[in-house]
Amino acid sequence: MDKIIGLLEKYFPMYLEGLWGTLWLSAVTVVLGTVLGMFVALLRMGKVKVFKWIADAYIEVLRGTPTLLQLYFFWIGLPKLLPFLSLSDTACILVAMTVNASAYISEIIRAGIGAVDRGQWEAARSIGLSETHVMTHVILPQAVKNILPALCNEFISTIKGTSLASVFFVGELMTAYKTVASATFLQMQSLLIAGVIYFTITFTLSKLLKLLERRLTVSD
């Protein structure tokens, strides 16, 4: 126990920095992933068959291969593809995480839109709204209620998922653990600290999510 306290006294700022890295990486991943995921979901629900197939394949491949493999893929591939950008490791990992999240998020969005009553589409069309306005003014505002809680869940699982990025030492919480562990040789103690931090964050967020869900259903 006093070893842990000792660790905290010395390395707490490093853990904090790691936590900041984790939260930052997760938040950006979910935000960009939502934008990309929305695009994929719209392609998938659209009328153009070719786009539908492409979107389907995109989702299947990303869900059917390990996230770690995808991280390697972008980490190796992106600098080769775009050498003139001289992308940092973090940038490559961020792109990989975003692409990965977009596949899951596009399914969340599709399900959320699919859960809106068919009659709402019909009514919106029957008064002569353009397909775009049907979506932006009638369907999406209602779908958001279904999408938001699932999106928060995605954020929570992304927080845990970013730990994979420590393989590339991009400075999130798991990287902090690795650094502390190799500096002090206190493997278990330094790991426990990281674990407690992860748990505190995800537990708090999932409790907040419960509150949000209750608020959303009240307004129905």
């Binding site: 009553d117 009659g119 709402q120 019909e122 009514a123 919106a124 069309r125 029957s126 008064i127 002569g128 709204l129 353009s130 397909e131 306005h133 003014h137 009638v138 505002p141 209602q142 129905d220």
Partner: protein, 246 residues
């Protein structure tokens, strides 16, 4: 055929869902100012026919003309035509994410670019007409079924449609609310609105209609004036149906 008084016309309309053929060739014309009731047994194709008229269902074969323009040819924007063809649904389908007033002004402001103030004024006039003016700022969840349906009617009317389609507008209502909705529809017919109504309210159909279509097994089995249809139906299917519902 260039009768200027024809608002909607169908030519040999067919609709199949997979192997099930629901409409087996319906040809009819609806004239300006006419009130036409569509009656018939469940599953006979009444609602499908109505929903083909604004292409909520795409006909498998045949044509729909709005004022002699083919709307099934997929050339023009169907949204434009739908602005002139109001529709009221069995399940109201009011938009729960916006207030009563916003339900009404949504389409006029978005698609017809009516200035907000003017759209509001017109909407309030319509809401007053159906007794919903005091609910303008409420959300639909606070409304009763009858109020929701009156709102749905106003929402359609706000686009100044040339014809109104009613798809069993009172079937989902509690009995005590049927009357308030029917009286709004009756009010519309008196103002000269062209109306097509699929209904199980036989008394109402008889009272307000100029013409009654009896649709059964995907075809118009019989049509005529309300008195003829309800007092001396000729087709055996009509006779059987009326003997069961009257």
């Amino acid at each position: 055929m260039t009768d200027n008084n024809i608002i909607l016309r169908t030519e040999n309309l067919h609709k199949s869902f997979g192997k099930l053929e629901v409409l087996k060739g319906i040809s009819t014309a609806i004239h300006k100012g006419e009130v036409v009731s569509i009656i018939g047994p469940s599953g006979g194709g009444k609602s499908t026919f109505l929903r083909c008229l604004n292409l909520l269902e795409e006909p498998t074969d045949g044509k729909v003309y709005f004022k002699e323009q083919d709307i099934t040819d997929r050339k023009g924007s169907i949204a434009k035509f739908r602005q002139s063809i109001g529709m009221v649904f069995q399940n109201f389908n009011v938009f729960p994410n916006m207030t009563v007033l916003d339900n009404v002004i949504l389409a006029p402001t978005l698609e017809k670019k009516v200035p907000k103030a003017q759209a509001r004024e017109e909407a309030m006039a319509l809401l007053t007409r159906v007794g919903l003016a005091d609910k303008a700022d409420e959300y639909p969840r606070k409304l009763s079924g009858g109020q929701k349906q009156r709102l749905a009617i106003v929402r359609a009317m706000a686009m100044h449609p040339e014809v109104m389609l009613f798809d069993e507008p009172t079937s989902a209502l509690d009995p005590e609310m049927v009357k308030e909705v029917l009286s709004v529809i009756e009010d519309l017919t008196r103002s000269g609105m062209t109306v097509l109504i699929v209904t199980h309210e036989m008394g109402f159909a008889r009272e307000v209609s100029d013409r009654v279509l009896f649709i059964c097994d995907g075809v118009i089995k019989e049509e005529g004036g309300p008195d003829q249809i309800f007092t001396c139906p000729r087709d055996p299917a009509t006779i059987k149906f009326l003997s069961m519902v009257l």
